[in-house]
Every structure is written in structure tokens, then in C-alpha cells.
């Protein structure tokens, strides 16, 4: 057990080293939400009125951060393809390390990187938007759950696909509808009945809602329901990623 933990930490450290050195990634991930809030949020703030009467700026800012966490997760899944292309994956696969440790290391690394990114951005956005961190545990669970689910999705795609281009395309096709139906840009309750049901079926909806509860103290669904759903989602995604990784990489 302690061996498996040590292996997971070794993989985790390697992934974090890579993330830390990827300066372009950090610049992009920090600049993008700030630009969206500054260029779109302020403009829409006076035009859009939420049914709750709350400020649209906070809704959008928290939504964009959730979007960022999701896309970071998709990027985390893509590292599997990058590792395959560089050949590094083979060096890992031939080492006496369980597939579970390899996958958990990847999942944890991206989750940690996203928690750090969100903390930094919340601190910046708190200056000029209503975003804060009234419920840190809820925000943390939401970030971890969204990350793990999207990295897992990436691992599943990554075991099938051989090129980064194909991965980007397919991941976009799968994730964009999930984003649009998750309440990132407008509350789910404002959607027409037909699409509202799709939103209810979208696990990301509960992630975004719990995340927003964490950052704004505002929620559409009961916190307990979202939290339990996300707990189950995290567990299922982790298992799914391990199984897909193990099966997909057999020759």
C-alpha cells in the first residue's frame, strides 16, 4: 500500500514539474478569465438581470472559472497522448508501477494544479467582482470532481486516439455541449423546459452549481444533492480512468 502511494506521489511530482514549467499555460489560464470578465462581464452586467436579482458579474466570473477547471481537466487527459508521442509513456509502463498509480498521479496532479489556479484567480477576481470563497470545502470538492471527471474523459479518449489534433477535436465535440448546458453562462432555471432536462442530466451542472455555492454562496440545487452526486462522479470517473488506461494500453 505504501509502495503504491509512493509510486503515485512520484508520478504526481513528475506531472507537477511539467505543469510548473509550462509558462504559456499559466499565462493563458490566468489571462483568459480575467479578459472575459473585464471585456464581457462588465458590459453584460448592466444588460443581464438574474432571476435571483444577484449581480451577473459574479455569476459569469464563477462560471468562467468552472469552465477553466473543465478545460484544464481535458488538457490533463491530453498529457496521456503527449506522453505516448514522446515515448515517455513506455518508460512508465515498463516500470514496476501499477496502472492505478500512474492514473491517480495524473488525476491528482491536475486537481492540485487547478486548485492552485482557482485560488489565485479568486484572489484576483475578488478585487473587482463579488467572487470570494465563503464555502471553501464546497469549492474544493467541485474543483476536484470537475477535474477528475474531465481528466478521466480525456484518458478514455486518449487511449483510443493517437494524435493531439484528433483529441482536441473530439474533446471539444464532447465538452462544449456539456459546458453550454451546465449553467456556466446563465442559471439552468432560465432555460426552456426541453434543454433544462438536458441540464439536469448533465453532471457538470451540479459541479458548476456547487462551485458557485463555494465562491458566491448562491446555489440552484441543494448542496447535499450536488455534493453527493459529485462524490459518486469522482469515484466513478477515477475507476473508469483506471480501467480505460489498463485496457487501452494493452498490445
Amino acid at each position: 500500500m505504501s509502495r503504491a502511494l509512493g509510486d503515485t506521489l512520484a508520478i504526481l511530482q513528475r506531472e507537477l514539474l511539467r505543469y510548473r514549467r509550462d509558462r504559456a499555460y499559466w499565462v493563458g489560464q490566468i489571462a483568459f478569465p480575467l479578459a472575459v470578465v473585464a471585456f464581457i462581464g462588465f458590459g453584460l452586467n448592466d444588460v443581464v438581470r438574474l432571476p435571483t436579482g444577484a449581480d451577473y458579474l459574479g455569476h459569469l466570473a464563477s462560471g468562467i472559472l468552472a469552465l477553466l477547471v473543465g478545460s484544464a481537466g481535458v488538457g490533463g487527459g491530453m498529457t496521456l497522448i503527449q506522453d505516448r508521442e514522446s515515448g515517455f509513456l513506455r518508460a512508465l509502463l515498463v516500470a514496476p508501477v501499477s496502472r492505478t498509480s500512474l492514473v491517480l498521479g495524473k488525476l491528482l496532479a491536475r486537481a492540485l494544479a487547478s486548485v492552485a489556479l482557482v485560488a489565485l484567480l479568486v484572489a484576483l477576481l475578488a478585487v473587482f467582482t463579488p467572487v470570494g470563497i465563503p464555502h471553501p470545502a464546497a469549492a474544493l470538492l467541485a474543483v476536484v470532481a470537475i477535474t477528475v471527471a474531465f481528466v478521466a474523459l480525456g484518458v478514455v479518449l486518449g487511449t483510443w486516439l493517437r494524435s493531439v489534433e484528433a483529441y482536441r477535436l473530439l474533446a471539444g465535440l464532447v465538452t462544449v455541449p456539456l459546458y453550454l448546458l451546465s449553467g456556466i453562462f446563465y442559471p439552468v432555471s432560465t432555460l426552456p423546459a426541453a434543454t433544462r432536462w438536458l441540464s439536469y442530466a448533465n453532471p457538470l451542472t451540479y459541479g458548476v452549481d456547487l462551485f458557485r455555492y463555494g465562491l458566491l454562496g448562491v446555489n440552484e440545487f441543494p448542496v447535499a444533492v450536488s455534493a453527493s452526486l459529485l462524490g459518486v462522479l469522482t469515484l466513478a470517473s477515477t475507476i473508469g480512468a483506471v480501467v480505460a488506461f489498463d485496457r487501452g494500453l494493452r498490445e
Binding site: 509502495r3 506521489l9 514522446s86 509513456l89 516500470a95 514496476p96
Partner: protein, 325 residues
């Protein structure tokens, strides 16, 4: 197989190994055995199945049929034990461009649970001459430096069996000589069984105590390089002609005393004759082909290329015919 082989289990034992990728048969009933501490070379042209063999031996590909044991463990049912016992240097690069040399070795040390990984990392970097570049990302390394790092990584945990898949492919002459030197030192130090694949005759000849010749997924010959060459029992004479029709002289030549075999290479307008006491019979051979205009004549001891030709009936690399060494 001598008596010691029965008390000491072979480092590698392969029986009836078959592996196909969709419709392509990569290995077709491969049998081989490598003793502990040996320096074994698997020689074959591109596509012969060398990399597939290494992939199966290193637990990265599952055999379709056959039994494969490495370091006394089955590669299918005892993967973890096999992985702990082996080191591997892949043909294609397998480094993370963003990590430094030291970080690669440190990760390796952690994954193999080495208590003294810091010391070993330092020693390994020193040994392969990368100490000065240890903290630079691999992105800026030359091909030779990368290969040396891969070798250092493959050896860090002191594996009982080291696999090297085309270790000098794509390297320049100096880098290649450096790697040969390191492999010789490693083997001289004893203990590690080295299993190397190569499509370079020179490499197999220069490094390996025993070689197996692989062609189309089967082992066609096996033995010490010298033994394989002298088993051909003669010298090789190559006669090149101005016109391809010179090859018609083959039948005449075959009747000359001492001639063991004659192979036609019509595309190159050349005959390759295996003959006893080549230097004494050269005049007779040339006399026999006289109506045809001879453009070149070469006489040499058989090399591994001739061994390959003899056992497979086709040249090793068709485009490089008759280089002779």
C-alpha cells in the same frame, strides 16, 4: 546446453512465441534461450520482428502463443516480477523533453524504490558523461546524449537483464563508439545479461558473444559470430560484370572444384561464390567467366551478411547488396 545451464535458469527463455498485429505476423514460433550474464544479439533486417520480441520480453506486448520467461518469471502471469528484474533502452526516444537528466533518473529511482537513489543518480550521470548537463531539460540534448541518458536510466536499478533495442540507430560514428565502449564496460563488470537487437552486422559482430539471426519472425541461425562465419566453410569471392548476362556463368562456376555455392545477384550484375581456399582458386574462377567482361573482383572471409544470405536465401538489405563489410 551444458550442465551449468540446468542448475542456473536461463536469463531469457522463449518457446514457440507467436505474435501478430491484426493481419501482420510479427513473430512466428520463435524459440531462443539466453544464459545468465551473456551478451546476446538479435540480428535481423527491419521488420524481422526484433522490436516485437523485445516488447514481449519486456511485458509491453502480450504473446499470442508460446511461453516466455525472463529472469525466471513468466512475462504474462508474473509481470511485476519481470518488470522489477529488467531494464530497457527503447529504439525510439522515451524521454520527457521538459524534465532534466537528473529528474529522469530520480523518477526512475523512486519508481524502482531505490534507497540510495541520489548517490546512484550522481554516479550514473558521471558514468555516461552527463554530469555537467544533469540539470538541463532534455529538450536541448543531442541524439547521443539522449541515448546515454536512456542507458543510464535503464541501468540505474541494476537490472538482471538489460534490453537494448537498436541502441545506436541514428547516431553518428563517435556517439556510436562511445555507446559500444559503455556496453563493453558494463558487460565486463559482470552480472548483467545484455540482450541487444540490431540491424547492424558490425554492431552484432563487435559486441555480442552470441547472436541469433531473425528473419520474418523466426530464428534462422544462432551461435557465436565467429562460429557462424566459419561454419560457412570457405571464402567469398564476388565477381561483378559489365553486363547482367555475366550471371549466366554461374553454372560453369558451380562445377569448379572447391566451389560450395554460387548466388546470382542479377540486379547488381554480380555473382557471389563461396569457395574453399579462395585465393588459390581465384584464377580458375576468373578463367571460367572469361567470355563476360568483369568489372570488379573481391575476395574476403565470409561476414555475417554472408551468414544471413546462406541461412535465408535472400540478402540482408537488398538495396545495400554486396558491400561485403
Amino acid at each position: 546446453m551444458d550442465a551449468s545451464a540446468t542448475t542456473q535458469p536461463a536469463a531469457i527463455r522463449v518457446e514457440g512465441l507467436a505474435k501478430r498485429y491484426r493481419a501482420v505476423v510479427a513473430l512466428d514460433g520463435l524459440d531462443l534461450s539466453v544464459e545468465q550474464g551473456a551478451f546476446y544479439g538479435l540480428l535481423g533486417p527491419n521488420g524481422a520482428g526484433k522490436t516485437t520480441t523485445v516488447s514481449v520480453l519486456a511485458t509491453l506486448a502480450r504473446p499470442d502463443a508460446g511461453r516466455v520467461q525472463v529472469a525466471g518469471h513468466d512475462v504474462v502471469s508474473e509481470q511485476a516480477e519481470v518488470r522489477r528484474a529488467i531494464g530497457i533502452v527503447f529504439q525510439e526516444p522515451s524521454l520527457d523533453r521538459e524534465l532534466t537528466a537528473r529528474e529522469h533518473l530520480d523518477l526512475q529511482g523512486r519508481l524502482y524504490h531505490l534507497d540510495d537513489r541520489r548517490r546512484r543518480t550522481g554516479e550514473a550521470l558521471e558514468r555516461v558523461g552527463l554530469a555537467a548537463d544533469a540539470d538541463r531539460p532534455v529538450r536541448g540534448f543531442s541524439g547521443g546524449m539522449k541515448r546515454r541518458l536512456e542507458i543510464a536510466r535503464g541501468l540505474l536499478h541494476r537490472p538482471r537483464v538489460l534490453f537494448l533495442d537498436e541502441p545506436t540507430l541514428g547516431l553518428d560514428v563517435n556517439a556510436r563508439a562511445g555507446i559500444w565502449e559503455q556496453l563493453r564496460e558494463l558487460h565486463a563488470a559482470g552480472g548483467t545479461t545484455v540482450f541487444l537487437t540490431t540491424h547492424s552486422m558490425d554492431e552484432a559482430d563487435a559486441l555480442c558473444e552470441r547472436i541469433g539471426i531473425l528473419d520474418a519472425g523466426r530464428l534462422v541461425a544462432e551461435g557465436a559470430p565467429e562460429a557462424l562465419k566459419s561454419a560457412l566453410g570457405g571464402d567469398v569471392v564476388e565477381i561483378g560484370f559489365e553486363q547482367p548476362d555475366g550471371c549466366a556463368a554461374a553454372e560453369l562456376l558451380a562445377r569448379i572444384e572447391g566451389v560450395l555455392s554460387v548466388t546470382r545477384e542479377p540486379e547488381a550484375a554480380r555473382l557471389r561464390i563461396t569457395v574453399r581456399d579462395g585465393s588459390r582458386r581465384l584464377a580458375a574462377l576468373l578463367e571460367a567467366v572469361r567470355p563476360h567482361v568483369v568489372s570488379e573482383v573481391a575476395l574476403h572471409r565470409p561476414d555475417l551478411e554472408h551468414v544471413f544470405l546462406h541461412h535465408t536465401g535472400h540478402p540482408f538489405e537488398p538495396e545495400r547488396l554486396g558491400g561485403g563489410g
